[in-house]
Symmetry: C2
Subunit: 336 residues, 2 copies
């Protein structure tokens, strides 16, 4: 599914950022992996384009024409990258995908503006739905869907920030936060694609429901990789998210399911200003004892099942069903 759409998506993304008149577009092409710091074209690894892929799939699976949904697909990927540009600034992350982040190269002020430009390029892309053959009403509905998802996404980011430094975050808080921070845009990807492809509200909401469940699958895996991912694949050392004291799945799950003593130990460690190697190791040990990886795997599996069940009432080809099933499986086991 990823391979099938890859070329068309990459072409459309480049087309979307094919603007002149300001160095800011060179900065953005750099971030997308298409140019070096001077603006010269390079051949770097590009992202997985999960969101645009889901969007085009959703459109085709309900009988629509994939190219009609392309402006929405492009908008989703740009919105996602916009949020990464601002995340990098907020978290002071100097590298992503093995390359320096925008603020690390050009400073925070320009990075902030560059992120805002990418956000509006996304809007401009979405408005291309009309030219792609979508009628005004459906195009406006698409604009509303993305706005709604995007608002939830930032509210989720804000919630995530407000959790920092707190030791009383439970799994329900965590789920509420990721369903917004990550889930909203993934849900929107399938939702938007389906809404471009069909007018049947039951079908559209089945895809929306599927996308909602997918968001959990995606983020739980992300959080597992943030702790146990292999450095050469994810670009982060093992335990990275522990060292940064992130309230991600593994630690929230450990706090909730560990023995009292272990729970206290994590609170104590997360209360320190900076964590040393042995602190990270202690937390990793506690996570092992609490069976956090297995719990994560079970929960991701449950969400994956719900995602597939959501599509049960939808009439789609056996090929399409298999494709989305494979894709969900890929999200669960991916190593980057």
């Amino acid at each position: 599914m990823i391979d099938r759409y890859e070329e068309a998506i990459q072409g459309a993304l480049r087309q979307g950022l094919n603007r002149d008149g300001s160095f800011v577009y060179d900065m953005l092409r750099y971030y997308m992996g298409w140019a070096d710091e001077t603006g010269a074209p390079i051949h770097a690894t590009t992202g997985k384009a999960v969101r645009p892929t889901l969007c085009l799939f959703g459109c085709e699976a309900v009988g629509g024409v994939a190219s009609h949904a392309m402006p929405a697909a492009v908008a989703l990927e740009f919105i996602h990258n916009f949020s990464l540009v601002h995340d990098d600034i907020q978290d002071e992350d100097a590298t992503r995908r093995g390359r320096k982040t925008i603020w690390a190269v050009w400073g925070k002020r320009k990075a902030l503006a560059a992120g805002n430009v990418l956000r509006v390029v996304a809007d401009a892309s979405l408005q291309g739905l009309i030219e792609a053959g979508v009628d005004s009403e459906r195009a406006l509905a698409g604009v509303s869907l993305l706005t709604e998802a995007y608002l939830e996404m930032i509210e989720g980011q804000y919630l995530d920030m407000s959790f920092e430094g707190r030791h009383d975050i439970g799994m329900d808080d965590y789920r509420r936060m990721i369903s917004r921070k990550t889930g909203a845009l993934l849900r929107c990807s399938l939702n938007l694609g389906a809404a471009v492809g069909t007018e049947d509200p039951a079908t559209v909401s089945a895809f929306r429901e599927c996308g909602r469940a997918l968001g959990y699958v995606f983020q739980i895996r992300d959080d597992v990789l943030g702790v146990w991912g292999e450095e050469e694949v994810t670009g982060k050392p093992v335990g990275a998210d522990i060292r940064r004291k992130k309230n991600s799945y593994p630690v929230v799950c450990a706090m909730e399911s560990a023995e009292d003593e272990d729970g206290d130990a994590i609170s104590r460690i997360y209360g320190k200003r900076e964590l040393e190697d042995r602190d990270v190791d202690s937390v990793l040990d506690i996570m092992d004892r609490a069976g956090v990886r297995e719990r994560a795997s079970v929960e991701a599996g449950e969400w994956a099942d719900l995602a597939m069940q959501a599509l049960t009432p939808v009439e789609m080809s056996a090929d399409a069903k298999r494709e989305i099933e494979d894709f969900i499986h890929f999200l669960m086991v991916r190593d980057r």
Copy 2:
């Protein structure tokens, strides 16, 4: 004109931010001047609401119903305030309108997210055009207009940043920068209002042209106030923009029109890391000798004339003509 729309605009703005579920909305209500730092309602001075006023006026002047344009008016004011929230972060400005800025109270990370929330609340407002009685096609055209203006606005902000530290900025560079940074949204205000009120393309473009000229009137006055404004009114000390080495109208004009010796002196002073009081005084003296205030006044007057001329072919009531004339005059002489 400002008084006539004020109550309706303030009500609609509050309605637009009347959202729950996250403290981020309290932060935004604080910024708008409606709440204190704890979220409790207060009665502070609100902004001039120049953009929404122009938008509603544009709609009514061409025979439309002002309430139809209200969602656009609200969107414009929120977009404007969003850009101020991010500007404050970028420039590390700790006060605005005599109150602490969002980042100064809650830190830069939360301020960045709060700005992004306001930006998307603006989008959501604009999508209310349909409910306000505007048809899908016109509503979509409105969304495109705002996107276009907003993109120009950030490109202008970026251009402004890229001018920093340079001593070779001429008046043409300056005009190109402000026509985007400030002009785009002001142009869009009249343009959007007129586009909601009428389908006649010649009328809409006359308002667009008027708005374009207004942008210069507005920004030239802003820049004059940034140097010579009275502290108790603007909240900034005299010479503030010189001390910050801003490439605003007065200094660019002085560099271009001053005698060689004076021009070199400004370059030398702007090349220093930090400016002392006597540096600021020297630059003020040079500006006096070069007649910068008079030049600014003449140029603003020329743009004001162009703004009125743009509306000559438009059939509107004598009252409306007088109102917009008064408003343009107000923009030229305002002291805050």
